[in-house]
C-alpha cells in the first residue's frame, strides 16, 4: 500500500501542494479532484517519483518503471509511434514484438508508422496510455486523460484501461466515468 502523509511541495514562495493523507491500495482506482492550481499534477509527479516533496512522509512507492505517469499532453520522442512503444518495451525488458498488440488495443494500428509527434490530442492520449501499459506498471497515474476528448476517444481509452489490473490514480475524475473506489479532493 502507498501512503503519503503531511505532504507539502513548495516551488520558491509558491505552495504547489498540501496534502494531509493519501492511501492507495492494490487494484484501487483513486480520483483526484480539485480546481486548477490545486496541485493535482504535482501530486501525480510526487507519486511517480519525479518530484521530491518539500516536507512529509511517503512509504510504499514502487520503483520507477513500476509506477508510470501519463501526462495530460503526453510527450513522444522523435520517431514513429512504433518506435516510441518499442523504446518503452525495451526499457521494461519486454519483447518489442508486443508493439502491434498494444497498438491494436489502442485502436492505433494504422498510426504505427506515423511520426509520433504529429498525432492529434486524442490519438496521443490513446498511444501514451498504450505505451504506459506496455511496461506493465504496478501503478498507473493519469493526468486528466479524458479532458477535451469526444465520446469515441473516451470509449477507446476506457476500453484500454479496462484490462489494467493495477492501481490507478486519475486527476480530474469529473471528466469521465471510471469506477472510482474513492475520490480525493484537493483544496484550491
Amino acid at each position: 500500500m502507498i501512503r503519503l502523509s503531511n505532504i507539502q511541495v513548495r516551488f520558491g514562495q509558491v505552495m504547489a501542494l498540501t496534502l494531509d493523507e493519501l492511501e492507495l491500495r492494490e487494484h484501487e482506482i483513486l480520483g483526484v479532484a480539485g480546481p486548477n492550481g490545486s496541485g493535482k499534477s504535482t501530486l501525480l509527479r510526487v507519486l511517480a517519483g519525479l518530484l521530491v516533496p518539500t516536507a512529509g512522509e511517503m512509504s510504499g512507492l514502487p520503483a520507477p518503471g513500476r509506477v508510470v505517469l501519463v501526462h495530460q499532453e503526453p510527450y513522444f520522442f522523435n520517431g514513429t509511434v512504433r518506435e516510441n512503444l518499442a523504446y518503452a518495451l525495451r526499457l521494461a525488458h519486454r519483447d518489442i514484438n508486443e508493439t502491434a498488440g498494444w497498438l491494436e488495443r489502442a485502436c492505433a494500428s494504422h498510426l504505427a508508422d506515423r511520426p509520433a509527434q504529429v498525432l492529434s490530442v486524442g490519438e496521443q492520449r490513446r498511444v501514451a496510455i498504450a505505451r504506459a501499459l506496455a511496461v506493465h506498471p504496478q501503478v498507473l497515474l493519469l493526468d486528466e486523460p479524458f479532458a477535451g476528448l469526444d465520446g469515441e476517444h473516451r470509449k477507446i481509452i476506457r476500453d484500454e484501461l479496462a484490462i489494467f489490473g493495477g492501481s490507478m490514480v486519475v486527476a480530474a475524475p469529473e471528466h469521465d466515468h471510471l469506477d472510482y473506489q474513492k475520490v480525493l479532493t484537493l483544496p484550491g
Binding site: P64, G65, V68, E73, F77, V135
Partner: protein, 231 residues
C-alpha cells in the same frame, strides 16, 4: 584583388602538386582536432546535459565558469598546458611537450567548455516532460540522458561541428605546446602562420584553402549523416 587572386591560383597549384609537408599538416590537424573533440564530447556532452536536465546544486556557477572558460584565449590555454607538460611542470616527466598529444590536450581544454555550454543550452530549453517521460517509463538517469541527447541531435551535431571548427583552426595551442615541428606537430594553421612570417603569401594561403575544404567537408558529412538518419 589581383594579389589575392594570384595568391589563390598559386595556392591551388601548390595543393595540386601534393607537397608532403602540407598533406602531413592536414593529417596532424585532423588527427589532433578529431581526437580532442571526441574526448571532449565524452566528458562535456553528458556534463552539459546533466546540468541542463537535472539542475544540480550550484549549476549556475558551473555554467558561468564554462562561459568564462570559453573566452580564454587559445594562447593562454597553450601556456597552461605548457606549464603542465614542461620539464618542471606537474606532468613534465611524461615528456609530452612538442608532441601531438600536447596539442590534443590543449584542444581538449578548448573544446570542453564550448561543448558543455552549448549542450547545456540545448537541454535546458527542453520542457520537463521530455526527461520525465523517459524516467517514468523506467529509464535510469543515464538512459534518460542518452534519450534526451537523441532529442537534441541537431544541436548536438552543431555543437560538435563548432568544436571541431574551433580546434582545427586554432593556432595558439599548436604553436605553444606543439612547437610547429615539420612532419611532427605542424598543423595547417601553424603552417599558414609560418609561411606568412616568411613573406610567402601563396604558400600561406594553401593551408588556408585546405582548412576551408576541411570545414566544408565536415559540415557536409554532418548533414549527410543527419539525412541518412531521417530516412
Amino acid at each position: 584583388m589581383g594579389f589575392l587572386l594570384e595568391g589563390l591560383a598559386e595556392a591551388t597549384r601548390l595543393i595540386m602538386a601534393g607537397d608532403p609537408r602540407t598533406y602531413h599538416a592536414v593529417l596532424v590537424s585532423l588527427t589532433c582536432s578529431v581526437t580532442a573533440v571526441v574526448l571532449a564530447a565524452l566528458v562535456a556532452v553528458p556534463y552539459g546535459a546533466w546540468m541542463g536536465l537535472y539542475r544540480p546544486p550550484a549549476y549556475r556557477a558551473q555554467v558561468f565558469a564554462l562561459r568564462v572558460a570559453m573566452s580564454i584565449p587559445t594562447v593562454v590555454l597553450g601556456l597552461l598546458v605548457f606549464g603542465l607538460l614542461s620539464r618542471r611542470g606537474l606532468l613534465g616527466g611524461m615528456d609530452l611537450l612538442y608532441t601531438q598529444v600536447a596539442i590534443i590536450a590543449g584542444e581538449f581544454l578548448l573544446a570542453v567548455p564550448l561543448l558543455g555550454s552549448l549542450i547545456y543550452g540545448a537541454t535546458a530549453r527542453l520542457e520537463p516532460r521530455v526527461v520525465e517521460t523517459a524516467l517514468t517509463l523506467g529509464a535510469g538517469r543515464r538512459q534518460a540522458l542518452m534519450k534526451v541527447l537523441g532529442e537534441v541531435r541537431p544541436a548536438l551535431v552543431a555543437a560538435l561541428m563548432a568544436a571541431f571548427g574551433r580546434c582545427v583552426t586554432e593556432l595558439g595551442i599548436a604553436l605553444t605546446v606543439g612547437g610547429n615541428l615539420p612532419l611532427r606537430t605542424r598543423t595547417l594553421a601553424s603552417t599558414a602562420q609560418l609561411e606568412l612570417s616568411r613573406g610567402r603569401f601563396a604558400a600561406a594561403l594553401a593551408p588556408g584553402v585546405l582548412l576551408m575544404l576541411l570545414a566544408v567537408g565536415a559540415t557536409m558529412l554532418a548533414h549527410w549523416l543527419e539525412r541518412e538518419r531521417q530516412r
